[in-house]
Symmetry: D2
Subunit: 248 residues, 4 copies
């Protein structure tokens, strides 16, 4: 795809589900950088992309460490010297802790913010200057797409850690949409309301185990690609997704 050949993309938070699907999808148009703490989470995806004729690299990164993020982006700059960033996806959810509040330690409570607040701040600080730099030349408005959850909209009992992190991430995404939208960067937030259909959730009894009762992560990837390709006269800031049988 000639028009996109000088561009690349970044997906932070890859594993078996959404991150992998998004990386495979975006790899059809752009080289992709995969960020995950554990190389096992990106190695097979990098191979998968390469064997389909795409270009991908993985960088072991702890998104909530300034040093780690800084070193990852130094590597990215070296690897993609002269290329511009078309899209960045923040798909990090962090630790999911579900505990009675009075049994939740400070460390556990803060874990929700670690990835969703601090980590997202660090990622956004790194990618926004690159996205701004692509505004005048990219085919589609440069995009920062953020994965949210049911807990981005409501704080449930025993979920203060995850919900407070997800709320903080959504607040930041809204702030960035309002600040960077007028500059041509598309910041979008997706509420993923349901269980993702991945090997790890195979036996989870979501929606009584009915067919398609869990979210197909390839469909999420299609949504993210759709968000990325929206023209600047028509930016979606937020959408929700859930299986047809999900209660909401």
């Amino acid at each position: 795809m000639a028009a996109t050949s000088n561009f690349f993309s970044i997906v932070a938070g890859v594993g078996a589900g959404t991150g992998r699907s998004v990386a495979l999808k975006f790899a059809k148009a752009y080289p992709v950088v995969l960020l995950a703490r554990n190389p096992q989470n990106f190695e097979s995806i990098v191979s998968e992309i390469k064997s389909s004729g795409g270009h991908a690299i993985g960088i072991s990164t702890d998104v909530s460490s300034p040093q780690s993020v800084s070193s990852a982006f130094a590597e990215i700059q070296k690897e993609f010297k002269g290329k511009k960033l078309a899209a960045a996806v923040y798909n990090v959810g962090g630790k999911f802790i579900r505990k009675p509040f009075l049994e939740t330690s400070l460390e556990e409570y803060e874990a929700g913010y670690e990835a969703n607040g601090k980590g997202f701040y660090l990622f956004a600080q790194a990618v926004l200057p690159l996205l701004l730099d692509s505004v005048s030349t990219s085919l589609h408005p440069p995009s920062l797409i953020v994965t949210g959850a049911t807990a981005s909209l409501r704080g449930s009992a025993t979920m203060s850690s995850f919900a407070s992190g997800c709320f903080a991430k959504r607040a930041t995404a809204q702030s960035l949409a309002r600040e960077f939208g007028p500059k041509g960067v598309h910041v979008a937030h997706a509420i993923i309301d349901g269980v993702i259909d991945i090997p790890r959730t195979k036996d989870w009894p979501a929606n009584g185990g009915v067919e398609d009762g869990k979210i197909n992560s390839d469909a999420i990837a299609d949504s993210y690609w759709y968000l990325h390709t929206q023209p600047r006269s028509h930016f979606t800031q937020e959408l929700d997704v859930r299986p047809y049988v999900e209660k909401f």
Copy 2:
């Protein structure tokens, strides 16, 4: 498109903007029925679709009249005997009244509900049985897609008529999503937050007149098509759209 050849679609509320773009978009896959009170609003679109090799008919319909809706659907059933309904779009906004409350007559106040409450009820009653009947055979989940507005989310001063209608429409769309989603019908609601770029709004000073400061209705059509093609494991119930420079 073989897989869709036994299907058709309906767009209620066509004119120069969203309705026309949506009809042209869906006409690439399905024959389209266009509903508008005034034939002038659909005639040129029907011609446009036909001249591109598509199939379309227009039926003059007052969506807030039970008799008119009933007669329109009798005609549709005759015209598309043996075919099934794949998608129905409700793009009727009705009269937009902006007046101090104490100068708003009962008739003016009720005008907001006429199209968005009663009209949507009548349309939904007519299309839902047809959409349910398509669940097992359609390529994409049969869809009812509803156009909303900023006024679907907030009641502004001097806008009680339009806002109360839009709120009622959104409430009904949510109810239908929760009732018919589990049966396989996708009910989605789009918040259109901004001025649509059509001849009538050419001189409106939206967003200071900057380029792309009004919404391109073809992009809305892309969104509706994207919503229609989502698999049932991943239904979006609501998304917002606005120009990159729109304050929100």
Copy 3:
């Protein structure tokens, strides 16, 4: 209470629960007009207020009939000639219909709007000029307080009638708050999320029948009085209430 002696109040929608409690509460400060379609709904409350030394009249009124509302307010003007309106409470919920959508008739669907849309419009048209007229002299900012429900915030399956009406009422209340707040009239909306504890609900199994699992309507009356007495530097537009054990 000398400061309030030239004022009166109106409560539309009285019966065994919220309306009665609100009337009794406001009657401690102001004469109260009770509006209900069926005189049986206000007669005993009028007696109750009178026997406590208060002043109250009941007027049989169909709030969704312009003629009926108009005639009620003519009677009110005659009865309270020279007095000013301090507070008006709209506590009409209308018919509550819970049915599969395709079994809901147009008449049933519109019933939700009849009381919550049209009825509230008529009531607001009648009381707002009177409330505006009280701004400079009343002890507390003149108030229009509106009863909402869970269905004001979400459209549940099989509840499109009630939810669309409640959404319309909330939209109108928001519009009025934004238009009349700056003129000194306090428009507030209360989300009543739970079953009210009245004789009719005695055997309803709300919250497993635990003690205080239903809402005490006297507490709602306290809330409305609290809303009414807020100074204009501190207006609450919306609050929710529910029993401590209610799921939300």
Copy 4:
């Protein structure tokens, strides 16, 4: 007030506005503990309460330091040995930073979470066991009341730090309401949407400088007291407040 004589209350975050007013209000019923980092912020309030015949102590506390909070509550336990906690108010807002995102340092970004996330966690961990212990004996349901802001509901451009903290605090308050409400503890969150009228904001041009265009903090205190005295059959989880002329 005999019924409340075995109880005390705590207000975290006192200064010239809301905290002072809330402390004075609650001091009419309960001894009050005032927490603030800087003793200058509570000393005059403690004197004011004492000179009105109330009982108050101030403890210099950094609410985002586990050690500091722990030592403050040790002192509280000693001071109020045998007494029970009736109400705890978290009125800490933390640093308010308004800066373009790319000029916001990590430390500045995290400042929003420091007080509103971590600080609120530490306070809630300390007070909830005490509030639970009061459920069976207190006159009013033991209460944890939390001060929020406009930024609790929307992330504005250049306000990612404060908004992410306020969103996190609201998420946590919601989680706690859902977990501890059924146990009899009332957790409520107030959205303060406007400028508080205190010496520091005297010359702020809020709402064009009109009379009552800033929020009277004594009215906020009345709201908090009203929330505290709600019976358990009628808990308000969230309310908003703003001056009558505030745009929203």
